[in-house]
Amino acid sequence: MSNGKNTLVKRFCRLACASAIALAASGVQAAETVTIGFTGPLSGGAALYGQNTLEGLQMAAREINNKGGFKVGDETYEINLVSLDDKYAPSQAAVNGKRLVQQYNAPVIFTPHSGGTFALQAFNQRDDFLVMSYTSVPTVTEKGNELTVRIPPTFTGYMKPFTKIAMAENGKKVAIANATHDYAKYWTKAFVPTWEAMGGTVVADNPMDYNKSADFYTGVSKVLAEKPDVLFIGGASEPTALVAKQARQLGFKGGFVIMDQAKMGEMSKIIGGYKMLEGSVGVVPLTMYEEQGAKDFVAKYHKQNDGKDPTTEVAYNYFAMHTVIQAMKEAGTVADSKAIRAAMGDALKNLAEEHNPYGVTEIDAKGGMMADPNIATVKKGGTVELQRISEVLGE
């Protein structure tokens, strides 16, 4: 986020390089390269998000190419990653998809948003390419599209442990004050029934537009008027931190359930530590993970980026690129998207630990990745406690 000291010159250089690569690739389709496509927001309001996802893919591709490519059968391939901007617009994602398949022969296309995924799904089975979708919206894999892989686990896994912890720490009355974009809506839809099923009540429901709202005091004071024990918040990390801060300023003493889009680590930078988040449950950045794969990845990333912390987007997409390549090796083909999809399960088993920071182990029949991620609870005094979902539920 704010430590992104992207100067104009740097950006232009990067741009020039990217376009040079793209041009070179469009010119000659060398026998030993395989093109991987990407369509995502590289400009507009979601540009940072899109660039983060792309960065993960680039990092993995660079790693593989620097080692001289990868072997499938007798042939050694290098990765040619072609990225196109869609400004978060589904129609533009569809145009880019057509372009990546038709012009660049990409067997695999990455996209970091559900809208783009839906647009690509309108023709991916006919045009024969695999959609690697970085979104935890379950619908993208539930419709039965056979060539779609959902990279992160669905957020629905968080419902029960979040609810359990929040109730134990604070109480049973929740007020909803999260964001209004599509992802937040999906979350609310899944969260409310879980909360109620576990014996809680929803005392207020007042989502707010985190990005456009001029002011959260009105909305926050409205939900606080119902005296909730728990406040369900979440959107991008920065505004979420502000919502939490304003709730505290307005006298809220309970805990927060923080939607997984916001990372507590990033929020803590804005509001000066975890003190304000006492009694809260949410997710933390990879840097706080104890697992070896995560540590290796973070160390590598730090080395390459002057100590900058990797985002979740970077880590998952880095993992996804390695998985795709591994699957190509397992399947023995770089072109047959069905075979690549079918080999995903084996690929996950054989993936090196350092390439799998989140420890994803399985992929379900519909194409959803499954993992057992860490969730974090902020205890009294601002200490953070990490637990695997299975641990929370197993108690």
């Binding site: 950006r11 940072l48 007042n206 537009d209 990005n211 001029a214 002011d215 004071s221 920065e238």
Partner: protein, 283 residues
């Protein structure tokens, strides 16, 4: 009561932004769609001065005011002045062009990410059971004192009264020999200052990002239509009306529909009275 203060905070910022817009409209009859972009640039300039140069909050505000005033004058000189005699559709499109350009420029340089502007005033004031963060009090006080200064400027100084004269009667002022160019530049500069100060006041309780001006500018337009385009008291009163409507509407109806309140109000009022609430005489 909490909502009254919320309404006041929102209303004073809306009023400040709408004031700049209404002044420009009064003088040049240009609905400056780029005004929201000027506001956004103001926030970024303050941010840079504070974060990258480590300067003081007030210094940053001053710097932003100066920079945006200059930018506004440039817009007037390079774009609106050449379009003085063009059909009315053209200056609007040109203003949209400026808006798109400024946003793209800022985004290219700083990226689209949300930034948080630091403020030295982070305390909370508790008064009669009300919780008021210091920055909010600063917004209300700052906005209203700026309005007062502007009022004095327009009423008591020579330049100010020429602006008022020209706003009231363009042809008349021209006949009396007012230098229209100078007044136009002056007006744009003032509108730039208002936008930049508004942004610097407001940004610490919000976030700084390239599209931050969008919604604000639309509400500012609603305000000056309600208040009568070109009317200075209309802009302030209109700003407060919308601010309160949103604070109370957001509280009693739904925050989700908060943003629609201003626009719904506009549609209803204009359907009943096409000339706006406070306009006098013929348009």
């Amino acid at each position: 009561m909490q909502q009254v203060l919320n309404g006041l905070t929102l209303g004073s910022i809306y009023g400040l932004v709408a004031l700049g817009l209404t002044l420009v409209y009064g003088i040049l009859h240009v609905p400056n769609f780029a005004h929201g972009a000027l506001y956004m640039v103001g926030a970024y300039v303050s941010y840079v001065i504070m974060v990258d140069f480590g300067a003081n909050y007030w210094l940053a505000m001053l710097g932003a005011a100066g920079a945006v005033a200059l930018l506004a004058v440039l817009c007037e000189r390079l774009v609106f002045n050449p379009l003085r005699h063009a059909p009315p559709i053209h200056d609007k499109i040109a203003a949209i062009g400026i808006m798109l350009f400024l946003e793209a420029l800022v985004q290219m340089h700083w990226g689209a990410e949300f930034r948080r502007m630091p403020t030295p005033y982070t305390g909370i004031v508790e008064f009669a059971g009300l919780t008021m963060p210091a920055q909010r009090i600063l917004i209300i006080v700052g906005a209203f004192s700026l309005m007062a200064v502007l009022h004095l400027f327009l009423k008591k100084t020579m330049t100010g009264s020429t602006i008022v004269a020209m706003a009231q009667n363009r042809e008349g002022a021209f006949l009396v020999g007012i230098d229209a160019n100078r007044v136009a530049m002056m007006t744009f500069a003032i509108s730039g200052v208002l936008a930049a100060v508004g942004a610097t006041l407001f940004a610490p309780i919000n976030l700084v990002y390239p599209a931050m001006g969008h919604l604000l500018i639309m509400k500012a337009f609603v305000i000056i239509i309600l208040g009568g385009m070109g009317s200075i008291p209309g802009a302030i009163v209109g700003g407060l009306i919308i601010g309160f409507a949103e604070a109370f509407g957001g509280f009693y109806i739904s925050t989700d529909y908060k943003d629609i309140i201003a626009f719904a109000l506009l549609v209803v009022i204009l359907s009943i009275k096409p000339t706006g609430l406070f306009t006098k005489g013929v348009r």
